[in-house]
Amino acid sequence: MAFSQPWLLWLLPLAFLPLVFQRAHSKNYSWLDMLPADPLSDLIGLILKVLAVFTLLFIVLGLSAPHTKQQEVERIGVGAQISLVLDRSASMDDAFSGTTENSLGESKSAAAARLITQFVQSRKNDMLGMITFSNSAMYVLPLTENKEAMVAAVRATAGNALFQTNIGSGLTAGAGLFDSVPDSGSRAVILLSDGGGRIGAEAQQKIRDWFDRMHISLYWIVLRQPGGLSIFDKNYAPNPDKALPPEIELFEFFKTMKTEFHAYEADDPKSLQLAIDDINRKEKKPIKYLEKIPGKDLSNLCFIIAAIMITLLLGVKYLEINTWRN
């Protein structure tokens, strides 16, 4: 039990005013000794005073806004702490080319948003966070259990995009989300990007260290142009004269990470769906989490009680005798 406006409790002594002041509209009678004693009348007089006192008491209590304290209950559920790292580079606004007819024209980002929304809805006890990145990471949502916030965040990723792809920044920001949250035993970063980007050696080391220290597994979904370079292409022979393509280089880097890593390639919404389903299946471990139960506001209860008492007093007012002039 706590009060939001405890200083209003100083008004509580006012509640006892009805005991001090007598009823103002009392009628004159010639001699009270002529009226025989009547316990019922005395009782009603007492009840009226008590009612008045309690009405004021509850109004003051209600004004000071009492509420119960927030409680935290430890629950065990199935799920994970997942941070979504979404690519918002301009190429995400392109459609999957050469896809099936029914999703013709659906952009990669729209498909990703739709599927991620489904993914979010299907997960029960997850904590989800979200980072988008293009030329730098954009902090969207910290790890939260609130699904509505997550869905809204996914929806908010639609919008104008920028041209660059700074995966390193996105990943460090994504890992950073876990920094202030206790480890539930199942942590993952889902990186959704089209193509790759280069990460400097220093950033690579930082990412590797962070993921290792925080026990974060990484899922990388590459949205590939059909016919483009596949990271799983075993026959790919690197051109010794040139640097490796960014996807391959990133893939090679991710493979060197000490924590779990899975890569998926998707070149249409269907394969994207498959990839997400696979992650959904893998990230199901029992986790402990604290559910916060908000404190209950008791002021309305106080006001309702006061209102009932005022109603009773009004009822008595209705019963009151007006015809007797004195």
């Binding site: 007598q22 009823r23 509209h25 009392s26 009628k27 004159n28 009678y29 010639s30 001699w31 009270l32 000794d33 002529m34 009226l35 025989p36 009547d38 019922l40 009348s41 005395d42 009603i44 007089g45 009226l48 008595v316 019963l319 009151e320 005798i321 015809t323 007797w324 002039r325 004195n326």
Partner: protein, 287 residues
């Protein structure tokens, strides 16, 4: 109220007073009356107009006799009026107003009967500002009564009744005691025992709104006008019956006390009717 509108009643007394002032009541004063009481010698009562020739010649001792008569004398009439807080009660007319009407009627009737009229008001003490000394001219008393009609009694008790006897004359007078007699019985008894010298007519002012005419049902708070005490009342059939019972018991109790002093009470509930006071005198006072 114009003085002609004041209703009069007729009254008489069943005893002889000793007033010298000529009036209309039987008296023990010798004088120019019609009431023959005997003979005496001219030497004792040297009034040759009253020589009784018949008695004189019958006397072998040859004395001269005169007839003796008693004159009719004026009897002082007083109103002692309760000005305590309870007299402020009344739904249509306040009791104090009713008391003033009655006092005016008495004053007017006394003047018409060539009796002097005086007024003594009391609340906690005898109120010297509400005293009008006995006078054959009633105007002063009627002025006082007119003022009394607008008077709002203070919230005090009526214990001044104990001292009222000090403000009445030594000679036996006709005293109307106007009050609701809402006072402890012992106090009433004590006050009456000091007033036995006079002919007391208790005028009991009760109001139907006090008991029989209570509101049917409901809750109300009432204040005692004298002590200021407050009570909440829940009026209902059974409780109203109890209140009426209590008033009837009270009526019996004060009747018993008044009759112990041989002072039959005159009740006024509702409007004052002067004719009923005439009837009262015919009924209770031997002519």
């Amino acid at each position: 109220m114009a003085i002609e509108d004041i209703k009069e009643f007729s009254y008489h007394i069943g005893w002889r007073n000793r007033g010298r002032h000529p009036g209309r009541h039987a008296s023990t004063q010798r004088g120019m009356g019609m009431e023959f009481i005997g003979h005496t010698s001219l030497l004792n009562y040297p009034d040759p107009r009253r020589i009784d020739l018949r008695q004189t010649i019958r006397d072998p001792m040859e004395q001269v006799y005169v007839r003796l008569f008693n004159q009719k004398s004026a009897t002082p009439v007083f109103v002692i009026c309760d000005l305590s807080g309870s007299m402020n009660f009344g739904s249509k007319t306040r009791k104090i107003r009713k008391a003033a009407d009655i006092a005016e009627s008495i004053a007017r009737s006394a003047t018409r009967n060539s009796d002097p009229f005086g007024f003594v008001g009391f609340d906690e003490v005898v109120r010297e500002d509400w005293i009008s000394i006995a006078s054959f001219k009633s105007q002063r008393a009627i002025d006082l009564c007119e003022r009394l009609k607008e008077h709002h009694p203070e919230p005090v008790s009526g214990s001044g009744i104990d001292d009222v006897w000090r403000f009445l004359p030594r000679e036996r007078s006709l005293v109307f005691m106007v009050s609701d007699f809402h006072m402890p019985l012992e106090q009433l008894e004590g006050a009456l025992s000091n007033l036995t010298r006079h002919h007391i007519v208790p005028v009991v002012l009760w109001d139907a709104d006090e008991y029989t005419n209570l509101p049917e049902n409901g809750i109300t708070a009432v204040t005692d006008p004298e002590s200021g005490a407050k009570r909440t009342l829940f009026l209902r059939k059974s409780y109203r019956d109890k209140i009426i019972e209590s008033f009837e018991a009270r009526r019996a109790a004060i009747y018993k006390i008044f009759m112990e002093f041989d002072m039959p009470p005159f009740y006024v509930e509702g409007d004052f009717d002067a004719d009923r006071l005439t009837e009262y005198f015919h009924q209770f006072v031997a002519a």
